[in-house]
Amino acid sequence: MRSCAALLLLATLLMPPALAAQDGINAGMPASPAAAIRIWSLTGSIRLSTWARDSVSVRGRLDATVGRFFLGGTRDALKLGIESAAGVVPSGTADLEIRVPAGARIWVKSAAAEIDLTLDGGSADIVTVGSRVRLAGRAEEVSVETIDGNVELALESERAKVRTASGTVVTRGVIQQLDAATVSGPLLIGMEGKVRSVQLQTASGEIAFKGDLHPDGLLHAETHGGEIELRLPPHLGARWHLVSFGAGIVNQLVPASAVQAGPGRGEWHFTTGDGRASVDVRTFKGSVTLIPRFEP
């Protein structure tokens, strides 16, 4: 068996480079600062960043077997990407390096391409099957939808929405309004600054939040089977509603004197400080753990 594998390896090494041609991509066109840019590429990689020019530039490498590169549209609405044969996700090299005007509205559709966007204003809307998605920089609004891709947001943004079924969601930075949900993937949410609205939901994935809330902020986390761990500042003024039917609530954050159990079984409902923020946390059979978060 082993000799067979060695033979195969040898044969591969001795083989001439694939005959399929690999094209270099080098294209560009003018674009308005708030242009809508739609990007299609099923596989390979998409790296996008902004620049202070009124144009879009694309560089990259593409195996002809993957498909044909295109770039077109108008200054305000551009389309670019790789057109592949219908019905299959092709294999081979398809790497795009894209520069867009800061403030552009980006839309990406992919199946498996690694997606890496560094934004400076504008928005991003990404739909993919299994891509790893990474968003960095600053944006007004981002939305990511995937089935099993991992999503990482290292962003300063007003709003973000993330949906993945089995992928992991990791956030850093400041997202004023975050809405993230998975089925089995974990949500690992770290925030700097005070955030206004965080809504987290999984069916079985763990939920971990570390950060601080705006005085009127709200943090809602809900899961069926996942554990919930919250690291919050010790003196948060909030209305708390904690539910764990199956596994109980571990509280190291709120002074025991402030805590009221009930009204239902496995339920705590109480107020701390001015009670302006809202912390609503529910897990059917996981546990809820509250831990003080101290300023770094």
Partner: protein, 206 residues
């Protein structure tokens, strides 16, 4: 000018809608009358307090769970919207799904018959119909979803179904538990969202 006159004009005085001379007359009275001054100060404190009240107050429970089932789907044809609201159609749909052997349909049908909160039962029935429609669409969709992706989706649907089943069992033992009802509907909604997302992701074009 009497104290009563001043009190009558106090609103216009505070809102700054008095003519200059009227205002001066009141000012002159206030100079001399401690009772009216006190009344004015109390009113000023009251208004300052009112203006400082929070502009936003969050309800003590999540109202979304009651709102969501009432949102008529917008993309569907109008006929469907009317139809899907009729209890008879909901019941018929649930029975049809039951006949198809769908577990979700069976559940919806049970809820419809059990005489629990009708809004909750109707929401479940609606979710059951949507879920079944989408699942069938996904099964026949010539999409780009690889076998491995399809198996991930199946696995996650299994997790959701198990969660729904567990919540149902708990709810049977504690039928008035609104939190459990909400959790159950959330899982149903997640199920639909996952199917919708799979359909969207699998399409090559937008």
């Amino acid at each position: 000018m009497t104290c009563q006159d001043v009190d009558q004009q106090l609103d216009a005085y505070l809102d700054g809608t008095l003519a200059t001379e009227e205002q001066a007359t009141i000012d002159a009275h206030l100079e001399q009358c401690a009772t009216c001054r006190e009344g004015l100060d109390a009113m000023r404190r009251l208004l300052a307090g009112s203006h400082a009240l929070p502009k936003a107050i969050l309800p003590s429970r999540d109202l979304w769970t009651d709102i969501a089932p009432r949102l008529a789907p917008r993309a569907r044809p109008a006929a469907w919207k009317q139809w899907s609201r009729s209890p008879a159609v909901l019941a018929a749909a649930a029975v049809l799904l039951l006949a198809l052997g769908s577990a979700v349909g069976a559940t919806a049908s049970r809820w419809l018959q059990s005489g629990t909160d009708p809004a909750f039962a109707a929401a479940r029935a609606r979710y059951a119909v949507a879920s079944a429609t989408l699942a069938e669409q996904l099964a026949t969709d010539p999409s780009l979803l690889a076998i491995t992706t399809r198996s991930i989706i199946a696995q996650d649907l299994g997790i959701l179904d198990a969660a729904i089943h567990e919540a149902e069992t708990a709810l049977a033992a504690d039928p008035r538990n609104a939190t459990l009802e909400q959790m159950l509907l959330t899982r149903e909604r997640q199920r639909i969202e996952l199917l919708e997302r799979a359909l969207r992701a699998g399409r090559q074009e937008s």
